[in-house]
């Protein structure tokens, strides 16, 4: 009974939060999205420049520069992932830029020991780069020119197979690094720069088509990011949708935080890899950048709650926060969530540090590797714990999660179900 009284009083309090406060929180959330996507565009354009350099004058240096640019481009992008789930517009678009896992043999040559997804997914060895003419679902495809349309309309998810990924960060990653054939051993993919070499320098054939694929996929990535950036400008669809109803806007924020923390990151990207002990079950598997991918995902969740984002140039975007809204109603709930978010970042930080010092994520996944398992599990536990606090904050704010909203039974006492 005590609990019921308590929650009722919280509910009453929630209606006393000024509308302006909620709007300001959403406004700041959208501003941070704008800044994150702008940073993603800026870093993707730097990647584009270095890819163009690589293609113009292939060398170990230009390839390394392109790889470095790719790694830097991931950091702001990963922090935008918390905008998925709650924001349909981001969710519907996300597959173009960040689809994973992928059957890389669709794109380019793969090792003969690759385990051959051949009989399963015939397009897993389609090798677009080597084949200007190909047959797809019984239809002849002219791939002489590697165009954006060919990649995004024809090949991406070819034959409805999700692992046929032809576009996005991970397609570019594969082209820059090549397959990571080290299993649980040390080392990332090790593509020679000569794969982009001119004439006699060219290794593994079709260097011009490989370069063309890399350029097209990078250009497409930039334009897809630019499109999403525009949606967060004043008057953009993403922003308009959020501001239609402030409560739904807050729910979108919390749903993004909770769904990314629990199901997506703790579950699909971390726990699954441990369950299967599979070195392929890492998010950025060619570049061995998974630790950063996880770290910046976590950071994105934290900065949405705190309402503060540090941009790539070091400047700060900051404003009214979910944290201040929650604190106004229940200081303990706010402290708990903030402290959970910090703990998760500490654990993800340890994981990142270990990987930065040479203990790669795919090594951590090896069966019986207790140290690796502990690093991953501690981060998973942090993410799981913070989700409970996110749920608590949702209740404190008097909100129903978006998934429950709109179901008729809740609005209608005469509904057949309760």
């Amino acid at each position: 009974m005590k609990n019921i009284i308590l929650s009722t009083s919280i509910f009453l309090l929630s209606s006393s939060i000024a509308f302006a406060d909620k709007s300001a929180v959403i406004e700041n959330y959208a501003n941070i999205a704008l800044a994150k996507f702008e940073d993603s565009v800026i870093t993707a354009k730097k990647l584009q420049t270095s890819v163009n350099n690589l293609i113009a004058s292939p060398s170990a240096e230009t390839l390394n520069a392109a790889k470095s640019a790719w790694l830097l481009s991931r950091n702001p992008y990963q922090q935008t992932e918390v905008y998925r789930f709650g924001n349909a517009i981001v969710d519907d678009w996300e597959g173009k830029v960040n689809a994973w896992p992928l059957d890389e043999g669709l794109i380019d040559y793969v090792s003969a020991t690759y385990g051959g997804a051949t009989d399963e997914n015939e397009y897993a060895v389609l090798n677009i780069i080597a084949n200007p003419k190909l047959i797809l679902s019984g239809m002849s495809i002219d791939a002489t020119n590697i165009t954006r349309e060919l990649l995004s309309e024809t090949l991406h998810e070819a034959d409805e197979v999700e692992s046929n990924v032809a576009t996005g960060y991970h397609a570019v990653e594969f082209l820059l690094w090549g397959q990571d054939l080290n299993g649980h051993g040390t080392g990332a993919g090790n593509r020679p720069w000569t794969d982009f070499g001119k004439e006699n320098d060219c290794t593994n054939q079709n260097c011009d088509r490989r370069s063309s694929y890399l350029k097209t996929a990078t250009d497409l990535l930039v334009s897809d990011l630019e499109w999403m950036h525009a949606q967060w400008q004043t008057g953009g669809d993403a922003r308009l949708e959020l501001t239609k109803d402030v409560n739904n806007g807050l729910i979108a924020m919390l749903t993004g935080m909770g769904s990314l923390s629990y199901g997506e990151q703790a579950g699909e990207r971390m726990k699954l890899g441990l369950m299967l002990n599979d070195p392929e079950e890492e998010h950025d598997c060619f570049s061995d950048n998974t630790h950063n991918s996880h770290y910046y995902d976590g950071l994105g969740i934290q900065n949405v709650y705190l309402g503060t984002y540090k941009r790539i140039d070091g400047s700060i975007v900051s404003g009214a926060s979910l944290s201040s809204l929650v604190a106004a109603l229940d200081v303990d709930a706010d402290i708990a969530l903030k402290s959970d978010l910090t703990s998760t970042m500490v654990e993800l930080g340890k994981l990142k540090e270990a990987a930065d010092n040479g203990f790669a994520y795919d090594q951590m996944l090896e069966k019986g590797n207790k140290k690796g398992e502990a690093l991953i599990l501690n981060a998973v536990n942090g993410l799981v714990t913070q989700t409970r606090s996110i749920e608590r904050a949702t209740i404190v704010l008097g909100l129903q999660r978006i998934s429950f909203e709109g179901s008729d039974s809740l609005d209608d006492p005469n509904a057949v179900f309760n």
Partner: protein
Amino acid sequence: MGFFITFFITFFYSISAVSDTLPDPRSDIIPRTKEELIRISKITLPTTNFSQAEKFENNSAGETTARILKNTNAFSQNSANLSFKSELDFKLGNALFRKLWVSSPSSTLASDGLGPIFNARSCQRCHLKDGRGHPPKNGSDSTVSFVIQLVRPEFNSKWKDEIEGYLGGLPDPTYGNQLQEFTTAGIRAEGSFEIEHINTEVYLADGTIVKLQEPIYKVKNLGYGKLHSETIIAPRIAPQMIGLGLLEAIPNADIIKLSDPNDRNRDGISGRANYVYSRDLNEITLGRFGLKATSATLKDQSAVAFFNDIGISSSLYPEGYGDCTNQQSLCQNAPNGNTQVHNDVEISDQALDLTVFYTQNLAVPKRRNSDDPDVLWGKKIFYKSGCISCHNPKFVTNRLKEKTAQSFQLIWPYTDMLLHDMGDRLADNATAGRASGNEWRTPPLWGIGLTNQVSGHTQFLHDGRARNLLEAILWHGGEAESSRNKVVELNKKDRDSLILFLESL
């Protein structure tokens, strides 16, 4: 058990008492109160008012209903009312669903056990985008998402005495339950198939001619000699995956109530329940899943699909060699992935349960345009043509103790979950449980209007022979003959409205 079913056949009016004794797929059920029973019987009555959309109609799957996605992921969303925690299980299940199994022996113990003979290496490879499979478009297209089952008549089933009217169905003595086109290294493939078509024409009352394509199947390149002389080739496309957990949560009694095995109401439609032995429940109970309702629970269905389609053993089907028969000794003796780590099977119970959870929670998207006047007109035609005699509009699911997503939802699947004789032209002549060679379980229609968006085609019925919804209707025969004939008589406007209604589902 046989006693009960015989009893039920004989004493029609005691159905509910009898069906109470058959186990429901979910064991955590809270019995309905009298008040609830009254409310449920009221709300599930088919509407007679077509001037506006019904209350709740837009949420085809109750609170689990997913939002409308405009892309190919429309069938891949989780139940909308899952907790964050359950979302995790859903995602793990999804990962297992799309996971590529590898052959044994392999260093990745959790992923090996493929085959030795198989149709696909992952669930998703057939259930493309969690939607419907399709027959190969032509000779050079992939045949994955389509299987050939092999069924012989069974004359002396051990279940005959236990299940009234049980016909059974045996595998081919050499090739087993189905024709697997793929194998692991060193094992001969079983064969492949080809399809020829016979074109026929249907004349509609307004003079429109519709061309139907009847597929004729031939197996070829048989690796192990001839099929048994009585073996029947039963083609199947992978069905769509949405809303299955809700269909599993419909009370047995509510399904059986709709059956009319002896057509006592003389509407030409019988509706028979299939009764099968459930390995999951270890009892005989109502069959629900599969084209002939041969699986009682989603765990039964998932386990049998793992076993036959991918060659993965589980606690329900423990043989590591999958569908290899004792006529295929090399295949039976090939290394398999049964390891002690996973209780001597290839997919652990934990992983199987996660996969089942995934299949229970693939959500049905919200209706579109349910209050459009043309859609409502089409709905009226659908109801008045008798389609709802089998495509039953509504059910209310069991109330579940765990308050899982499927608990106590008003759902609109447009199926009665029963077997119906669909006529000779559609028959595959394969018996399954109590299902005759002419009988099929009514498939749910929810989400059918999104088939093109999700799967890039509109091929319907058990083998995808219908190339659009109108063709699918025109293939209906047997118990559905009179409804089909009503559609033949429609003018173009009414016909278009009927299709619009179906596309809004």
